[in-house]
C-alpha cells in the first residue's frame, strides 16, 4: 500500500508541477463554464423555460456546469496520454518497476487537480453572479470529494479510449462524440423529471448524472440529492474502480 501511494503520488506530483508552471490550460478551460453560466444560464433563467422547483435556474445549473467542466477537462486527458506515448514517456514509465495500477491511479489523481481548479472558478463566478451556494465546510469538502472522484472517473475513461484508438486524430472525433451526449443525457442543465422516458433511462446509466446529483445537494442552498449521497458516491466510486481495472489492463497496450 505504501509503495502504491508513493508511486501514485510521484506521478500526480509531476502533473501538479507542470500545471502550476504553465497555467494556460487552466485559464482557457475556465472560459467555457463562465459562458455557460453567464450566457446560457442567464438567458434560460430569464425565460423561465425549465421548471426547477424552489431553486432558481442559475443555482440549479451551477452544479451541472461544474460537473460538465469536470467531464470536459477530464475527457480529453487521453490526448495527453497519447502525446506522452508519442514522446516515449509511457515507454519509460512502463519499463520502470512501478506498478501499472500506481501509474494509472496517479494519472487519475492528477486529473483531479484540474477539476479542483474548475470548482474554484465556478465558485468565483457564482459569487460574482450572486448565486448563493452552501458554505458549510462539510458541504465544500463533499464538493471537493465529488470533483476529485468525477475527474478521476472521466479521465480514466478517457485513458481507456486512448488505449483503444491510439491516435490523437481518432481520439478527437471519439471525444466529441462522447462528451456532448454524456452531457445532454444527464441532469446537468434540466431535471430528470422533464426528460422523455428513454432519455431518463440513459441518464440513470450515466455516471455524470450521479455527480451532478451529489453536487446539487452539496452546493445549492436548499438543494437535495435525489438519489442520496450514499448512492451517488457509491455509483461514482464503483464505476471508477471498474474503469481503473480496465485501464490497468489496457495501458501497457499503448506501446505495442
Amino acid at each position: 500500500m505504501d509503495r502504491f501511494l508513493r508511486e501514485s503520488a510521484a506521478i500526480a506530483q509531476v502533473e501538479l508541477i507542470k500545471l502550476l508552471r504553465d497555467p494556460t490550460e487552466m485559464v482557457s478551460r475556465a472560459v467555457q463554464p463562465v459562458l455557460w453560466l453567464v450566457v446560457f444560464g442567464q438567458v434560460l433563467a430569464h425565460v423561465h423555460g425549465i421548471y426547477t422547483g424552489d431553486v432558481g435556474y442559475l443555482a440549479f445549473i451551477t452544479p451541472g456546469i461544474l460537473a460538465q467542466s469536470v467531464l470536459f477537462s477530464a475527457i480529453f486527458y487521453g490526448i495527453a496520454v497519447i502525446w506522452e506515448r508519442d514522446l516515449g514517456v509511457v515507454h519509460k514509465l512502463l519499463v520502470s518497476p512501478a506498478r501499472r495500477i500506481s501509474l494509472v491511479f496517479g494519472k487519475a489523481v492528477s486529473a483531479g487537480f484540474r477539476g479542483l481548479v474548475q470548482a474554484a472558478v465556478i465558485y468565483l463566478v457564482a459569487f460574482f453572479m450572486h448565486i448563493t451556494l452552501r458554505q458549510e465546510p462539510q458541504a465544500i469538502f463533499g464538493v471537493l470529494a465529488g470533483v476529485l472522484l468525477g475527474s478521476a472517473l472521466f479521465s480514466t475513461f478517457s485513458l481507456i479510449i486512448a488505449c483503444i484508438v491510439k491516435t490523437r486524430e481518432r481520439f478527437m472525433g471519439i471525444g466529441q462524440l462522447l462528451t456532448m451526449p454524456m452531457f445532454f443525457a444527464s441532469n446537468a442543465i434540466y431535471p430528470l423529471d422533464i426528460m422523455p422516458g428513454w432519455l431518463r433511462v440513459v441518464a440513470q446509466l450515466n455516471p455524470l448524472t450521479y455527480l451532478v446529483d451529489a453536487l446539487r445537494g452539496l452546493m445549492i442552498v436548499g438543494g437535495k440529492s435525489v438519489h442520496g449521497y450514499g448512492v451517488d458516491f457509491a455509483v461514482l466510486l464503483t464505476t471508477f474502480v471498474l474503469l481503473l481495472l480496465i485501464a490497468v489492463r489496457l495501458y501497457p497496450t499503448l506501446v505495442e
Partner: protein, 272 residues
Amino acid sequence: MDTSAGSKGFAVKTAGLTRSFGSLTAVNHVDLAIPYGEIYGLLGANGAGKTTLIKMLTTLLAPTSGDAEVGGFGVTLSPAQVRGRIGYVPQLLSADGALTGYENLVLSAKLYGLPHAQRNARIGEALTFMGLADSAKKLVKTYSGGMIRRLELAQAMLHRPTILFLDEPTIGLDPMARHSVWDRLRDLRHDYGMTVLVTTHDMEEAEALCDELAILHAGRVAVVGTPAGLRAGLGAGATMDEVFAHYAGGGISESGNFRDAVQTRRTARRLG
C-alpha cells in the same frame, strides 16, 4: 528455459523468441546470448525487428512464442524482477521538457523505489557523471539534444541497473554529442560494470562502441560476431557498411513503416 534468478553467464539470453502482429512476424525465432559486461549492438535496417526485440526484452511487449531471460529472470514469468534490473532509453526523447533535469531524475528515483536517504546523493552523482550538474535546475526543453540524451542516460542509470537497453540513442545527434554519449556508455560499463544493449543502424557507432554485434534481417538473426570478425569474414579490406549491406539485405532499403519514419523524424526534430 530456466527462469530462476542466477542464470549464469549471460545478461540476456533468448530462445526462439518470436513476435507476430497478425500475419507479420516482426521477430522470428531469435536466439541470442549476451554476456555480462559487454556493449552489444543490435543492427538492422528499419523494420528489421530491432525495436520489437528490445520491447520484448524490456517487458513492453509479450512474445508470441519462445522466451527470454534478462538478468536471470524470464520476461514472461517475472517481468517485475526484470524491470527492477534494467534501465531503458527509448528511441523517442522521453525526458519531460516541462520539468527540470532534477525533477525528471526525482521522478525516476521514486518510480524505481530509491530510498529517500539515498535519493539526492544518487541524483547528484548521476548528474555529475553525465556532465549535467550545472543544468540540473533548468527546464529540459532548454537543453540541447546531447544534453537530453545524457539526462535520459542519467535517468536510466540512477538505480544502478545490471543491463541498459538503448534504442538508437544517438539518432539525430551531431557528431560531438554522439561521441559524448559513446564516452558515457563506455564509462558506465567501466565504472558500474553495466551490460549495454544498443540498437543502431550507424555502422561507425557499431564499430566504435560495440564488443559484439548481431545483425537482424526480416526479424531473424542474420549473423553474430565482433566488428573485426565480421569484416574479416567478408574479406580483406571490407568495411562495416559492406558487412551491413551483405547481411541486412543490401540495396536500397524498402523496409520500415510510416510510423517508424514519423518517430525518427519526431526524435530528430526534438533534438534540433
